[in-house]
């Protein structure tokens, strides 16, 4: 008895010209079109993250060459949790987050609602609040660092003029350096938050407000019962991106204070930079990198969980 030939695969293999069926061709093209992005992502993100995990268990100074990589077990991690500058950086990051996330989100929400339907020249306000976000943060920081000059700067001269004889020394005082940086960041980032809220507001149907008005709702009731709840997903988006962003802050601190004075404005990423690219302690810097990755992972997971329970 002869077995029935499985017809489809053999037929195709026997005829090489038929191998590139349109379907296979499409798959090949699909992968080729994706290839640059996939290779880039794997190499610069996934592989790099894995390699940094490996390095975090070694003690290695870049200057000693590849042969200088020595396995060190948990040494870096143990050292990290006893390192006062890392603890200081964590604390600073937390303070920076508190100053630059909830308050600006609340202010931006109110401003966005006002711009959305309570002012003339809407476009003017959109543009003005947005200008600092679009300008180079470094150039903007240069301007603010002059404005914040402790004795000669216009801000302190103004404060002294209105009777404050000992105004804060801002960037050069350990007590206020991080606050000054947070003010500049919040100022520069507010336009972004407003724009995102404005985009969210255009999605709310005006009928809801009209119905509420018929029921006699006041402006405040409408704000808290309609606007705030319906903007929840926008707020969630802003919260998660701004939380993560606040733990990644680097540029402005590196330019303005280099973490000083006396580590008063140092943050996690600045520690990675200093240990890795100033002191060349690649192993230790990698361990700090993983601390950053863990923090951002936890924030993401926690906020997602919050959102799921919420809805």
């Amino acid at each position: 008895m002869e077995a029935a030939k499985p017809s489809y695969p053999t037929e195709k293999l026997q005829n090489p010209r038929k191998f590139w069926t349109p379907k296979r061709k499409e798959a090949l093209v699909g992968w080729l079109f994706l290839a640059p992005e996939i290779v880039g992502m794997l190499l610069l993100n996934v592989f790099a993250l894995g390699f940094s995990l490996y390095l975090s268990f070694t003690s290695w100074n870049l200057l000693s060459g590849m042969s200088g990589i020595k396995f060190a077990g948990l040494e870096n991690y143990i050292h990290m949790f006893q390192d006062p500058t890392i603890m200081k950086a964590l604390k600073n990051n937390l303070l920076y987050t508190v100053l630059t996330v909830p308050v600006p989100i609340a202010i931006a929400l109110v401003l966005a609602v006002i711009i959305h339907n309570k002012v003339f020249f809407k476009d003017y306000f959109k543009v003005v609040f947005f200008i600092p976000y679009i300008s180079s943060i470094i150039a903007v920081a240069a301007v603010w660092s002059a404005l914040f000059h402790p004795s000669l700067g216009p801000i302190n001269q103004f404060l002294m003029d209105i009777g404050i004889s000992n105004p804060p020394k801002w960037l050069v005082d350990p007590k206020t350096s991080l606050i000054a940086i947070a003010i500049i960041s919040a100022w520069a980032g507010l336009g972004y938050t407003i724009i995102i809220y404005l985009a969210g507001l255009t999605n709310i149907s005006s009928e809801l407000y009209e119905a509420a008005e018929i029921d006699g709702a006041t402006g405040l009731t409408k704000f808290f019962k309609i606007t705030v709840p319906l903007l929840r997903s926008t707020t969630f988006f802003l919260l998660i991106t701004m939380l993560i962003g606040s733990f990644k802050v680097f540029d402005i601190i590196s330019y303005l204070t280099e973490g000083g004075p006396d580590n008063s404005s140092t943050v996690i990423v600045f520690r990675i930079y200093e240990e890795g690219f100033v002191n060349y302690n690649m192993g230790y810097a990698s361990a700090i990198s993983w601390l950053l990755f863990a923090i951002i992972g936890i924030i993401t997971a926690a906020t997602w969980k919050m959102r799921r329970e919420d809805s």
């Binding site: 640059p36 401003l111 003339f120 543009v127 180079s136 150039a139 301007v143």
Partner: protein, 278 residues
């Protein structure tokens, strides 16, 4: 009169908001006016908003023809930002096309995986990337900067959202006309995406222009610096001359302000695009 009575609160809010908005403009106005001043007048108080004596030529020369190779730095920024924008758009658009219009197994898994990679912060991978660049012999080159910022899941995601809305019939029609995939991509998809590509291009250009961290880590030679890193050279050389610092800041942001004023709709919509979909 009727207009005023009808819109009374709206007029008042507009005025209050206008006052508030000045807070967002004052640092720029101060920068502009200081860039025109003599060093000794910058910190004079009360502030001379319109300088009485003007030193703008000296300040301009100090920035553009002084010790800092500012013309080089400017050209570097233009070059790097244009190349980065172009390459990012190409890579992201190709990926987005593949994700939306080409059918093959594994497509959705790859897309989900890429989205998941977005959680990996750039700074957590800096050290291996630095080693990779050194190993490739690309340390202290502009290629390093381009490589570091040409792959963007964020833009791929935005472009994908847009392409989902393009009807498959356009592609079918191109196929019937005998166009291959490359041809379909460049002469059907890319032109159809022109509005979103323009928006994404502007945003990428601005981000690249403002990038500080990558040049800081991957460049060493002053002549190769881009503007944000170049600003540190002014800070180190002219630490006490605020007039020159303000002229440098002004020079650094003028192209951005021009781009923004001319194309504000696209810039704002582009930024909003990312937020609403999130």
């Amino acid at each position: 009169m009727l207009f005023i009575r009808k819109n009374f609160t709206k007029i008042i809010t507009t005025i209050l908001m206008a006052v508030l908005s000045i807070f967002f403009l004052i640092p720029f106005i101060w920068m502009l006016s200081s860039a025109f001043k003599f060093e000794k007048d910058v910190m004079r108080f009360p502030i001379e908003w319109i300088p009485k004596s003007i030193n703008v030529v000296y300040n301009f020369k100090a920035v553009w023809m002084g010790k800092v190779p500012f013309i080089h730095i400017y050209m570097n920024s233009i070059k790097v930002a244009i190349i980065v924008t172009f390459v990012t758009l190409l890579v992201s658009t190709m990926a987005a096309y593949s994700f939306t219009k080409l059918k093959f197994r594994g497509r959705n898994i790859v897309f989900t995986a890429l989205l998941a990679f977005m959680i990996i912060p750039d700074q957590a991978t800096l050290i291996p990337r630095f080693m990779l660049i050194r190993w490739l012999g690309l340390y202290d080159t502009h290629v390093a900067l381009i490589l570091m910022s040409m792959f963007s899941i964020y833009f791929t995601f935005l472009l994908r959202q847009f392409m989902v809305g393009i009807s498959d019939e356009f592609i079918e029609a191109a196929k019937i006309d005998g166009a291959g995939h490359l041809r379909t991509f460049f002469s059907v998809i890319v032109p159809l995406c022109r509005p979103v590509l323009a928006t994404v291009a502007i945003i990428k250009f601005i981000w690249s222009w403002n990038d500080y961290q990558n040049p800081l880590i991957f460049l060493q030679t002053k002549e190769l610096y881009t503007i944000p890193l170049g600003m540190t050279l002014f800070r180190d050389d002219y630490t006490t001359n605020d007039a020159i610092m303000m002229m440098a800041s002004l020079s650094a942001i003028i192209p951005l302000l021009i781009v923004f004023v001319v194309l504000q709709k696209q810039v704002i919509n582009g930024i909003a695009l990312g937020g609403v979909k999130g």
